[in-house]
Structure formats: C-alpha cells, structure tokens
C-alpha cells in the first residue's frame, strides 16, 4: 500500500537520496527493501514533459493565490484607508520570501541534511543545483527538474507569511512586517516544512498525513496569527467604532482567485500529472462546495441571513481543511470534511473570538488555524477506506488520528513559542505598532504615502 499523501521523495535531489527517504517511512520499509535491488538495476530516471508542464503551471497558480488572490481578499476586508497597506504587505512579503528562499530557505528546508528538524547548509544559494538537477516524485524513477520543485515550494513559502498579516492588519508597521517575515520564515516555516515534508523530517517519519501543507502552511500561519494579534494588540477603536470591510466585491474576487489558485496548491502537490492529482482536484472542488453551503446554512440558522462574506469565509475554510486531506480522502468524504470545517470555523470567528476579545482582524486563526486543525484531524478519519478514503485495509482511524494529533501539537508548540519570541525581537528592533495618529489617519498615507481611491 502506498500513501500518495506523504512527500516521501519530495525533498530529494538525487535518486539515491530519494530511496533513503523512501525507506524512512516505516509502513513502506518492507516494500522498499524488496524494491532496493530492483532500483539498483533500474534505468536512468525518466522526466515526463506532461509532469513538468503541469508543475510549472501549478507553481504559477500558487503564486496567483498570493498575487493578487490573497491580497485582494484581505484588501477588501480592511477599511479603505488601509487597503493599500495590505496589498503592499502581500507584495513585499512575496518578493522578500523569494529572495530568502533562494539564499537560504530552500537549503534550511530541503538542503539534504539528515537532521529531523532542518535541512542544513548543503544548498545555500542553491549551490550545486543546475538545469540538469532533478527532484524525485511519487513514482519510482520519475523526476522533475529541481528548479521546478524549488519554484513550486517557493510559492508555498511566499503565501504562508502573507496569510499571517491578516491577523494584525490595519495596525502594524511596514518595517515590522518585513523583518518578522524574514525571521519567521527562517526559524518557523523552513524547519517545519523540513519536519513535515523531508524524508528525514521528524513528523514525516511519524507517518503524519499532510498532502499539501495543512500543518506547514495553515496551522503554522494560524498560530503565528493568534500570537501576533495578541502581542500587537487591538486596533484603536475596536469594539467602539465601525471597523467594517470597505469592499466585499474585492473580497469576493480575491476569494475566487484563491479557489482557482488552490488547484495548483493541492493537485500540484502530487508532483505529477496523474490520477493522484485528479483526486486532489475533485476534492478541492467538493470540499469547498460543502464548506460554502455549510457556512451559509449555519449563518442563516444563527443570524437569519446568508452573507457574501460568510460564503467566501466558508470557501476558504473548506480549502484549508481539504489541503492536508485532498490526496487521501474521497470526494464525498471531502464534502463532509468541508462542511464540518465551516461549522467549527464559524463558531470560532462568531462566538469564541468575541468571548475572548482578541482582535484577529481578518480571522486568520479562526479560519486557517482552526480549519487547518480540523483538516489535519479529519484527514486521519476520512482517509479510512470505509469512508471513501484511499487508506489500505489495515488503516486504523485511532492510530492515524493520534499521529495527526501529535503533528498538530508539535506545530502549535514550535510555531507558538518561536513566533512569540520573534514578535518580541521585532518589537525591540523596529517596534510593532505605528503611532495612534498614524493608525487613525490610515496606513496607506502614513506608511506608503498614497491613497487607494480618489473620487475625482
């Protein structure tokens, strides 16, 4: 049996490394041992142009999620005076993370080191990587260019810190965002990406299922967001003034772009244009549909009206939840998973947030953190073959759920503790908050010297 969900050979640059990663998975040990002799005799790795073309396309789809998808989604949700600040933060985070990824990020995550916690210095500045370098896929002997793998992973490293800024939108210094992004990528994202996806990674070897990055991207961003919004503090006027979104239209456009881009994120995580990618694709449709309906039904029952923002919030919650699950659950199980995620996320953003009074401005924790946790745990349930999943006959919900739980817990603790330290460091170096006057006037003018809209 094979779990296509596990990025067994994702990190490896060479065939030999790929095999080492492959054998690291306990469930596959026997099969791998049998295959070792054959592998030695196998011909040179094959590159399929269809796979390469699909992965290049998927990479651009994931970039499109951040630029402009997430930027517009967030931009519409803030007040008009802060719209540009959010667009600019997403843009700058994308640029900074691309540079950092190439200089040391890729090495820290996938540098070939054998530590369970980080990838080492082996590929600093992408040393040793050429146009002829290859990265393994899920199929033995099938490879893609390593540059494509690096670019694909780079777009994930871009969107994750961009998600976080929603939690403290409208009240953060631009310099703080840039500095935090560099530090957080280095000390939180790259190590956790290594732990979950690299063949020598700690969580990978526990057998955690995370097809497209529910822990690495969404729980990670959600927890950092919760820590951030508490440490940065509430917006001026929170609970007193009207802080309503300025353009639900932009938000809907952004959310729709996110959905389309997410097909690159989920189906692209299959690394090949095969049936596995098709499974991720259909799940990315059905889970999202279930989640939109789920949110709107709950909202109608609770408030009497189904809102546009509710529908797109459900949309994102469903996409988040199906991210770890999309490679191993069935299309009908995905509908249920999406709907459950919506109900739980609704409860967090509409009830829990108000009860505790933290100002998670754009509900990054409430949707990405909570939805990510629901998705990670749900993956341990809906992968079961009798629930339509692709798990084998020996699949045990209890033991898989335990592994998923451990992976979630490790992510929460690592990310929570290190993020808190990093916010302190950033506060000490450049300060987190603009002056109250600047916040009142709006970050567009005071941080960037321009305005989103001119009525003339």
């Amino acid at each position: 049996m094979r779990f296509p969900s596990i990025f067994a050979k994702r990190a490896s640059g060479a065939g030999a490394l790929a095999l080492a990663a492959f054998t690291a998975l306990p469930a596959l040990a026997q099969e791998a041992a049998e295959g070792a002799a054959e592998a030695a005799a196998e011909a040179a790795p094959v590159m399929d142009k269809g796979d390469v073309a699909w992965m290049m396309t998927a990479t651009l789809l994931v970039l499109f999620m951040t630029m402009p998808g997430l930027a517009l989604f967030y931009g519409g949700l803030v007040r008009a005076k802060n719209a540009l600040s959010v667009l600019m933060q997403c843009t700058m985070i994308a640029a900074v993370m691309m540079v950092v990824w190439v200089l040391w990020g890729y090495s820290f995550a996938f540098g070939g080191g054998t530590s369970p916690f980080w990838g080492g210095f082996g590929k600093l500045f992408l040393s040793g990587v050429t146009a002829d370098s290859t990265a393994a896929t899920f199929t033995d002997g099938v490879v893609i260019p390593e540059y494509v793998f690096i670019c694909f992973q780079m777009t994930f490293a871009v969107i994750t810190p961009a998600l976080i800024v929603g939690a403290f939108a409208e009240r953060i210094k631009f310099s703080a965002v840039v500095l935090f992004t560099i530090l957080w990528g280095t000390f939180v994202y790259f190590p956790i990406a290594h732990m979950v996806w690299d063949g020598s990674g700690y969580l990978f070897n526990l057998g955690a299922l995370d097809f497209a990055g529910g822990t690495v991207v969404h729980i990670n961003a959600g927890i950092a967001a919760l820590v951030g919004c508490i440490m940065v503090g509430k917006r001026n006027g929170y609970g007193k003034e009207i802080l309503a979104p300025h353009s639900m239209t932009l938000t809907m456009v952004g959310a729709a772009i996110l959905w389309v881009g997410w097909f690159g994120f989920n189906a692209g995580s299959n690394l090949e244009a095969t049936g596995g990618a098709a499974l991720a694709m259909i799940n990315t449709f059905t889970a999202t549909a279930g989640a939109i309906i789920g949110w709107s039904v709950v909202e109608t029952l609770h408030r009497g009206k189904a809102s546009m923002l509710g529908a797109v919030s459900g949309l994102v919650a469903g996409l988040v939840a199906v991210t770890p699950a999309c490679g191993t659950v069935g299309p009908v199980g995905a509908i249920v998973l999406g709907a459950i995620a919506s109900v739980v996320c609704y409860f967090f953003v509409a009830v829990v947030k108000n009860k505790f009074g933290y100002d998670d401005t754009l509900d990054v924790f409430g949707i990405h953190g909570v939805g990510g946790i629901v998705g990670a745990l749900g993956t341990g349930i809906f992968t079961a073959p009798w629930l339509g999943g692709t798990g084998g006959d020996d699949f045990s919900i209890a033991s898989q759920l335990w592994v998923q739980f451990v992976a979630v817990l490790v992510t929460i603790i690592w990310c929570g503790v290190v993020s808190a330290i990093l916010f302190k460091v950033v506060d000490a170096i450049v300060g987190l908050r603009p002056t109250p006057e600047a916040e009142t006037q709006g970050l567009d003018l005071t941080s960037h010297g321009e305005a989103a809209y001119h009525y003339s």
Binding site: I242, L243, P245, K305, S307, L309, G310, V349, K353, G366
Partner: protein, 112 residues
C-alpha cells in the same frame, strides 16, 4: 427667487428629476449624503462583528427657482419622492439674495 433643498431616498432621484423637468425647471445639483432621522439606521454583521450603522445614505438635491413656481416645485418633489414610509426625507425652502450666471454675467431671474 427661492432655493429649494430636499433630502430624499436615493432611488427616488430619477422620479424627482422628471417631475421638476415637467415644470420647466432646468438644472439640478445632486449630492450623495448620509444622515439619520426617525428612520434610524440598520445593523451590519461581518462574520462575528456586529456594527450599528446609524447614518443612512440619502440624496440631497438643490434647485434655484423663480418665487412664483417655488410652491409647485416643492409639491412636485414631495409627490415624486413620497413612499409613505419613514425615511422619505424633508424639503427646505429659503430665499435667494442674488444669483449670477458665470458665463454671461446675467443676474437674478435671468440667471436661473
């Protein structure tokens, strides 16, 4: 000369414009405004956040007319803008001391 200013419901603007045109009144100034009266506001909910919006969008129209048709203009606006529900708006009339058409320099009644 009278200056007629009215606050009306935005969707009644076209009906009011037609009614004034029938009286032979040429020209109208329109401003989008916000305010409240007996209609009060409404509640908006964004995810969990509930906001009481106390200022509602209205349209303010301003028109300068000859004194002898001022009452007809007021009547026309009132009839056209009326729905019978609270929030239909108000009309105010005041006197104009002087009017000038900038292009020609015509003054007072000739300038209207």
């Amino acid at each position: 000369m009278k200056f007629v200013m009215a606050i009306i419901k935005p969707f009644k603007l076209e009906a009011v414009r037609e009614a004034l045109t029938e009286l032979g009144i040429q020209g109208l100034t329109v401003t989008e405004v916000k305010g409240y009266g007996r209609q009060k506001g409404h509640t908006e909910i964004y995810r969990g956040a509930e906001y009481a919006v106390s200022f509602l969008p209205k349209v303010k129209i301003e028109v300068a007319v000859d004194s002898d048709i001022a009452d007809k203009a007021v009547e026309a606006i009132a009839n056209a803008a009326k729905t019978g529900q609270i929030g239909d708006g108000k009309i105010f009339v005041y006197s104009i001391e002087k009017a000038v058409r900038i292009r020609t320099g015509e003054t007072d009644a000739d300038a209207l």
